[in-house]
Symmetry: C2
Amino acid sequence: MNSPRRTTIYDVAREAGVAASTVSRALNNPRRVNPVTRDHVVAVAERLGYRPDPLATALQSGHKATIAMLVPDITNPHFFGTIRGAEKRASEAGLTFILANTEESADNERNQIERLSRSVDGFVLAASRLREDTTRELAREYNLALVNRQVEGLPGAVVDNGSGSRQIIEHLASLGHRSVVYLSGPHRSWTASQRWRALRAAAERHGMTARRLGPFPPKVDGGGAAADAALAAEATALVAHNDLLAIGVLRRLTERGIPVPGRVSVVGYDDIFGADLCVPALTTVAGPQEEAGRAAVELLIRKGSLSRSQPAPQQVVLPSHLVIRDSTGPAA
Amino acid sequence: MNSPRRTTIYDVAREAGVAASTVSRALNNPRRVNPVTRDHVVAVAERLGYRPDPLATALQSGHKATIAMLVPDITNPHFFGTIRGAEKRASEAGLTFILANTEESADNERNQIERLSRSVDGFVLAASRLREDTTRELAREYNLALVNRQVEGLPGAVVDNGSGSRQIIEHLASLGHRSVVYLSGPHRSWTASQRWRALRAAAERHGMTARRLGPFPPKVDGGGAAADAALAAEATALVAHNDLLAIGVLRRLTERGIPVPGRVSVVGYDDIFGADLCVPALTTVAGPQEEAGRAAVELLIRKGSLSRSQPAPQQVVLPSHLVIRDSTGPAA
DNA sequence: GTGAAAGCGCTAACAT
DNA sequence: ATGTTAGCGCTTTCAC
């Protein structure tokens, strides 16, 4: 803030009877300075309540000690876990954590990156809406790590929806379902296409038919249209792009008096808070979202501190698993 | 980032054939420079892809264009609305938004404030755990706005739980309840004591007895102990500190086979996502949390841009209201 | 081991 | 209306 005037490195220097550069060294490279002077300087700094100014440090050294996380929609509970994990890891590493909403817009996302680029050491892009080539291009200039989006050559952490999707199909198959409808999410969403691909492949292996409907807005409100469309398609098993949509579907089905899982089974993804509260409790694919957020920050940190000869950026894949609750049952 | 080298104001100055200060003026005080030169400078800046460095600007001018929001527990859905509102308003105002978790610790909160103070123009403290005198002391040095916490003389926005609490009591009274138990939240929580005070006062007016139990951790997990304690106290109406706790209570009651609202009624606060999904759907006090977050940022912005002769800092009070669902019914 | 000096990119007097 | 100059607070050569 603009308070009276903060203690600077010069105040400490004067008080300690040394040069400013010595103060800087004593505080940052303790081993490069005589233990006696070091202790003295540190003591004086302490006494004067000296706090380095991160801005001045950053301007000079380029090290901002700050990362930014960009999220398509802060509203969506799905991201809370990821945000939490990222914030925690950043905090542990002494990094300041900037959070920004991109409102599901690739342009917005790109602008935010450019706007913040001078202020941060790197970005965690959660469920990025950027095109793959744009992402690669930006990654040449900026330090990026992705969450729940894979782009070859870029570091990132994803929750593997493939395993979850396969488990869904196996579960449904074992209940006697012969066909499944996927109620899809946003076009640009990598996760969405990922889920659908795995679902379709697994369905094929099990001799089930799989169709895709939508896209629907991945929110509770989107559930009305999604449920109606699915019903018109005469499906016995509905897999929604995420829990929000699934919950909306559940609601609409209840409204229309369709028994779940009596007549149709419903499955979601994410296992958000509330998935086990709704009625019937939602069968859904749970993944370690918090862990993914944490891992992405981790990769960003490691990447930044590496020498030129960096090994190939790492991709972390975390397993998901199906949580079976009450919204799935034997085929009608 | 540390990319090759970014375009600076000097590059633009050279290319445009003017002094650096003119570039600065052309970009920041357009009216103080000849329209012709201004346009030229702007065009060159554009062509060169010039982006001002926020750090350098901040270091020189003291204007950081950044605010930080401190939250006791990012995990808690209660804060999502507040965070969202604050982030939105900050974003609209072109401010960078820093989010930090204080882990329910006053010390941590204070440290964060000190750590970030040089990097931001001000702080939004959500449900601050700081003592009142500490808060006042800090407010002398830093720019603070509070959310859901009132400290005289400090700007802030609160959701008025008083009105909601009164509505709870009226509702319960009209259902024939004669006594109510409040399952309290964290000790340090201003909101918690606020709620209890209003509840007790309203109960008194209605000739109801009110008791307080706890404190319980304001999470779903806290509900087990809270429900058991309430049952032992033979209450017919339970008011939980927040929805998380209320949901936990509901769960425990179901486990124990206690009919809700047949034998006891349950009420929460916050109307979080999920409150209408649980069974029975939770009667709860809803408040415009998002609006509160937004208002706090608004106050921070206004405060910063005011002249010395500031009017008394504003306190915004937003009304809450009771949402009646299925967890409350006639007294047994 | 320590000091002097330059400069990160920008803004804000002060001159002209 | 524009240019010159002096820093903001820090780190980092480069000398000594």
